[in-house]
């Protein structure tokens, strides 16, 4: 007979999103990387929200979450840019972000970044409004998807910050599982960093290269021709490496993929 461990009663303090009442209007924070390099992914994110019946507002004044400066140790510069975002998203609407990393910066780091600053209460309130796109689609909007595409196989790369700062774990996969003709296969090192890390990729180029090469190898091993992710930094890194070494893996943002499968335009 196996002795049973009596489990303590306290529930896990997982930062699971609150079951918000379904909002009919949201802000969209596109992120600077998406703005310049992957605008179609951002647009797809907004379109997905619109298809779910939500009015999307994209404030002109937005720029960047400030993470690049923070990660380089330039906290004042990061805070100045963060403050510009506080100004660009007035009111209390949820702010949806097509990047776990930028969302993580705004949700988990803004309150600390503004410590001792008169704007800290504003930063805390702002942080509470931040949602990663796939988590918002699943947990808040409860979207249902109709797959209209051909059968295919994909694999998923979660960004470190979506996993470990935003607590987004199964949500993107839950969306992919809704697609009848899409087979999702896991790569062996799914939870391991791809080696991007912003300036890390150039400051520690050799280690970064080793990491992205391993990541791509584990993706290749799945046999899926397509890698999906919710973060354009990872996509730029893994996709850029695939292209450089002549690997045919397509690396795409999940929003763009979902739009294409379900609402082909």
């Amino acid at each position: 007979m196996t002795a049973a461990t009596s489990s303590p009663a306290t529930p896990a303090p997982k930062s699971a999103p609150k079951p918000d009442p379904k909002p009919d209007r949201v802000y969209f924070f596109g992120t600077c990387l998406v703005d310049m390099l992957y605008p179609e992914a951002g647009l797809a994110g907004m379109d997905l929200l619109r298809h779910a019946g939500v009015t999307v507002i994209f404030p002109e004044g937005q720029s960047c979450c400030g993470q690049p400066a923070r990660n380089s140790g330039y906290l004042e510069e990061a805070k100045a840019v963060a403050r510009a975002q506080l100004d660009a998203f007035p009111g209390d609407l949820p702010i949806v972000v097509p990047s776990g990393s930028c969302a993580g910066m705004m949700k988990t780091h803004y309150p600390h970044l503004f410590e001792g600053d008169p704007d800290q209460p504003r930063a805390i309130a702002f942080a509470a409004r931040i949602h990663e796109l796939t988590a918002f689609l699943v947990n808040v909007l409860g979207v249902t998807l109709q797959d209209k595409g051909e059968p295919m196989t994909v694999t998923w790369h979660p960004s470190c910050h979506s996993l470990r700062e935003m607590g987004v774990t199964d949500e993107p996969k839950a969306l992919l599982r809704q697609l009848a003709n899409v087979t999702l296969v896991e790569n062996s090192r799914e939870r391991e960093c791809c080696g991007f890390g912003g300036t890390f990729a150039v400051r520690q180029a050799a280690v970064s290269t080793a990491m992205v090469a391993d990541k791509l190898a584990s993706v290749r091993d799945t046999g899926a021709g397509t890698l999906l992710s919710g973060d354009c930094g990872c996509l730029m890194n893994i996709g850029g490496h695939a292209e450089k070494v002549g690997d045919g893996t397509r690396c795409r943002h999940i929003a763009e993929f979902l739009m294409e499968r379900c609402h082909a335009r």
Binding site: D35, M36, L37, P39, S63, Y74, V202, G240
Partner: protein, 496 residues
């Protein structure tokens, strides 16, 4: 100004050797080393995961563990005084050392007074920090490591590459060659049991003849005056029981308040470190041999080492570093450590914890680019049993390296060699970045300009050169999301 005089902008004292980025390729290009680490780290990660099947229990336990250490730190001076007084009452002699040199001198003095010529050592990272073996050797005292891993690297003349598994960089074949060369009468053998038995034979005699034993400490309990040591091999117990003299060395941050406090930490440490529910031995020492007792050392000493820790303590944020219980889970889960191994860090403490400890104990100059040798992926913070926010502290240290916080009373930077990585060029770049990203109109102009001409930046441009060595150039799109959002009719403001 108290920056580093005479060193070029963003420079690095040559005496500290090559920076992390320059050392890494050696390890990365060594497939055997990469295999050894990958295999070992994969095993350790799986074993740890199996020990915490219930996320709710893990969360509850680590909250308790983190709070125990944080509470102890909140009253650190008081607890150290209580520890000292209770140890003294128990018959243990307590010594204080501000620096590793002082600690070495204290240990040497105790040994010389006792007429000791040979020392057997249990595993101790603090003694590595002190370079104690070399110091004793210079004074004619032979110190033999008895932890199997430490023994192996001592034979090889190397330093530990991992704080729990010191010889993890070596595989069986390498160890077999080493033993065949160094242990008289032993041939090459691929059998781990035979290798282990050979070490046992050699070290048994060393234990029996040693004049003193030296060990580290995992937890020092203030309430009872007890030193808690954990280990699997029995060498720690032997080192602290068989020789007539026992000297323990430990950092001042190892003190906890009560025996109850040790319980959650003991539940966390071996599980996090090696995936064991508990180590084979938990050795709680509360004094030397008492009259009538038949074994145990007749004298026990504890050396409390500062070596920069009280400076770390000055900054409430950075002081979280001192919660560390040295389980090594952070390095076991680190995607960087896994690929380069411990020696690339060129420091006593490698991996994520080393990246925050080395700059604080030895200075940002000595640490070089180590705070930047991380993607901030948070894998370390996710598994830390005492919730040290390692990625946040890395960011803080990156900041101290370019813009040091001054300590008002002493007018010293909070972290030694603050500003070591300061670069005028980099500051200018970030000032420009701030200007652009805080002014919406300017931002729109710049992003449109990049959309139009960004792809003409040659792959040989600074930064782009490093990026494109392994990756294609990122492609700017002709229209930004700002443009596309308006074209698709998305609103700029919340409708009234």
């Amino acid at each position: 100004m108290h920056a580093k005089g005479g060193v070029a902008d963003g420079g690095h004292h040559p005496e500290h050797g090559p920076r992390f980025a320059e050392r890494a390729p050696d390890a990365l290009n060594n497939p055997q080393l990469r295999r050894n680490f990958r295999r070992a780290m994969d095993g350790l990660m799986a074993k740890r995961a199996a020990q915490f099947p219930d996320p709710a229990y893990w969360a509850e336990l680590r909250e308790r563990g983190a709070a125990v250490k944080a509470r102890a730190l909140s009253k650190l001076p008081e607890l150290l005084e209580r520890l000292e007084s209770n140890l003294t009452a128990n018959g243990v002699q307590v010594h204080w050392a501000e620096t590793t040199d002082e600690a070495n001198a204290i240990v040497l003095d105790i040994l010389q007074r006792a007429g000791a010529r040979t020392v057997i050592k249990g595993k101790s990272m603090v003694s590595e920090e002190m370079h104690l073996n070399a110091h004793l050797e210079r004074h004619g005292i032979e110190a033999v490591e008895s932890d199997l891993g430490e023994y192996i690297i001592q034979l090889a003349g190397e330093t530990p590459s991992h704080i729990v598994m010191p010889c993890i960089h070596k595989n069986k074949d390498e160890i077999s060659d080493l033993f065949a060369e160094k242990i008289p009468g032993l041939g090459r053998t691929g059998d781990v049991d035979e290798l282990t038995a050979a070490a046992r034979r050699v070290l048994r005699d060393r234990f029996a003849s040693a004049d003193a034993g030296i060990s580290g400490v995992n937890f020092a309990v203030a309430e009872t005056g007890t030193l808690v040591l954990i280990e699997n091999e029995g060498n720690g117990r032997l080192s602290t029981t068989l020789p007539p003299l026992h000297i323990a060395v430990t950092g001042i941050e190892k003190v906890v308040e009560t025996l109850d406090d040790v319980v959650p930490l003991l539940a966390l440490l071996p599980r996090s470190a090696t995936g064991q529910p508990i180590t084979t031995y938990v050795n709680m020492i509360s004094g030397p041999r008492k009259p009538g007792e038949k074994d145990g050392p007749t004298a026990v000493h504890l050396v409390l080492l500062d070596a920069g820790r009280s400076r770390v303590y000055q900054d409430v944020e950075l002081a979280d570093t001192l919660r560390c219980i040295r389980c090594a889970a952070c390095m076991n889960h680190c995607p960087v450590y896994t690929r380069v191994g411990g020696h690339t860090y060129n420091a006593i403490y490698p991996g994520p914890i080393g990246k925050i400890l080395t700059p604080q104990l030895q200075g940002l100059d000595a640490a070089g680019d180590q705070p930047h040798a991380s993607t901030l992926c948070n894998a370390c913070a996710e598994v830390c049993p005492v919730k040290i926010p390692i990625p946040d502290l890395l960011v803080r240290l990156r900041r101290e390296a370019v813009r040091p916080t001054e300590e008002t009373a002493t007018h010293l930077p909070v972290v030694k060699d603050g500003g070591a990585e300061r670069s005028r060029m980099e500051s200018l770049v970030w000032a420009g970045w701030r200007l652009v990203y805080t002014r919406p109109l300017l931002y729109r102009m710049v992003t449109r300009a990049l959309a139009w001409g960004g792809n003409w930046v040659p792959a040989s441009a600074p930064l782009m050169r490093d990026w494109t060595r392994a990756r294609a150039k990122p492609r700017f799109k002709p229209r930004t999301l700002h443009d596309l959002a308006r074209e698709r009719g998305y609103l700029n403001e919340v409708p009234k």
